[in-house]
Amino acid sequence: MIIGLALATVVATAVLLAALWGRLRPIGRSALILAAALSVVGTATVQVNELVQAYPTGGGTPAAASSGSLLLTVSVPGRLTLPMYVYLPAAYRTGHGRFPVIEALHGYPGSPQTWLRRLHVQSYLDTEIAAGRMAPTVVLFPWQTPKRLLDTECTNLRDGPQAETYLTVDVPAFARAHYRVRTDRAGWGLTGYSAGAFCATNLALRHPGEYAAAASLAGYASPGITIGDGSEKTLNNPGWRLRHLPQPPIALWLGWAGDDRHSARDSRHLAALAHAPLTVTTAVVAHGGHSDAVWTRMEPPSFDWLSAHLARPT
């Protein structure tokens, strides 16, 4: 829809440029060239946004699937007050017990909508649960930043958003207060793709008392941003943590594509550093780069693995 409008603008400016050129003075010509250039940049931006969903538009959010699962939109108050999507498995509506929970983190640039629209997560979760490869699980899709183009890497930025506290305290507190979910660490896991994969690894290593397992879909060993206190080199750097701190009793799933050089190198590095009581399972997609295709390929295996490493529904 928007991309169609953008393309129409590109064509329109081209037509105006061609038709009116001879009748315009230099100022008019310049204005038209500028308009044409803007229309091209705008169209490219719309298309990139369609890929990463940093500013999700239109379409709404799928709610109930034919499988019986639900996708809710809620607002989570706390250090940051941000919207969040909540996946409730079909069994949630009929059951009475408490369910394990996975927090699913998005990449940068990106949004929870990337999981829903580009990675089709509701359908993958429905399939894995229906096949019995995954236990019914509540999955949370929080925002990680109040500003779309501010890359927090899920850390508490000095003099900036306290994303880490929001994700590890406020979001869990909200889920425990509003949904029938397990309240113990054994029932809580993390996952994420790209920057969200870094987030999942880093938050699990930093909060082993809150999370038992984390899956990293094409993640990194360091945040690649400046946090403000230098901790991107130390306490917010999983590579540094694994080398210099006692390793916590958590389970990590590290997946990468063979031709995604940065993520492959970092993930192999983390896997090589890990030792008991930390356990690491690796998963390699032959090729596909740093793209949706790779992450969707990793979704079912990583969810199956996570479910097997979390406590069961009660």
């Binding site: 050129w21 995954m134 399972t281 390699v284 032959a286 390929r297 199956d304």
Partner: protein
């Protein structure tokens, strides 16, 4: 020509320059439709060139195959193999595998199967391994009670149990057992003394990707 190679970027840049030159050169003599085509082609070739440079730098799509969404990999679920004792009808029995003598136990381990073991033939169950008092029958978990002696050495027990019954390789609950239990924890097979409600679920064979 590689998607991220310099030759392709040079070609795209040259194409952009050529289209630009022709469009400017022919502009005053061209029909409007040709002018429109020239502008659109110029814009498209610029977007392609910039896209190629960004992609070379960021390596989002390192190859044409990656751009087409091909990953060359499929996740597969190795089917859960039936245990050699799955045909037994007893839900509680003394387990006497070939390895039993090597373990130096006071008695053959007592195995208790959960109520849903027979009804879910494609599923692997986590294990509650007790090194002393028999543990009660546990929903969706296989309980194994062993009576250790001073000489007991249980290496190979998980593998032997997985041949005979549909049990998971990890996620076990280890009840008591001192150093014997520690060895299981250190091997990543399970954790100590947790409530049966905290066991992982009994699941069908997971989809897996290659590990390297």
């Amino acid at each position: 020509m590689r998607l991220t190679g310099l030759p392709l970027i040079l070609l795209a840049t040259a194409t952009f320059a050529a289209i630009g030159a022709v469009t400017v050169w022919r502009w005053s003599r061209a029909w409007i439709a040709a002018r429109v085509a020239g502008v659109l082609l110029l814009e498209a070739s610029l977007v392609v060139a910039v896209g190629l440079v960004v992609n070379r730098h960021e390596q989002f799509y390192p190859s044409w195959a990656a751009l087409r969404g091909e990953t060359g990999t499929v996740a597969v679920a190795a089917p859960v193999a039936a245990g050699r004792l799955d045909e037994l009808t007893a839900t509680s029995f003394r387990w006497r595998p070939a390895e039993l003598a090597r373990w130096h136990l006071a008695a053959a381990p007592l195995v208790v199967l959960p109520a849903d073991y027979r009804a879910r033939p494609g599923v692997e169950f986590p294990v509650v391994l007790s090194f002393g008092a028999a543990v009660p029958r546990t929903p969706s978990a296989v309980t194994v009670t062993v009576a250790p002696t001073a000489r007991t050495e249980l290496s190979g027990l998980p593998a032997a149990l997985r041949k005979d019954l549909r049990v998971t390789a990890t996620g076990w609950d280890l009840v008591g057992g001192g150093r014997l239990g520690d060895a299981f924890v250190a091997a990543g097979i399970g954790v100590r003394d947790r409530s049966p409600a905290d066991l992982p679920p009994a699941l069908a064979a997971p989809l897996r990707l290659p590990t390297r």
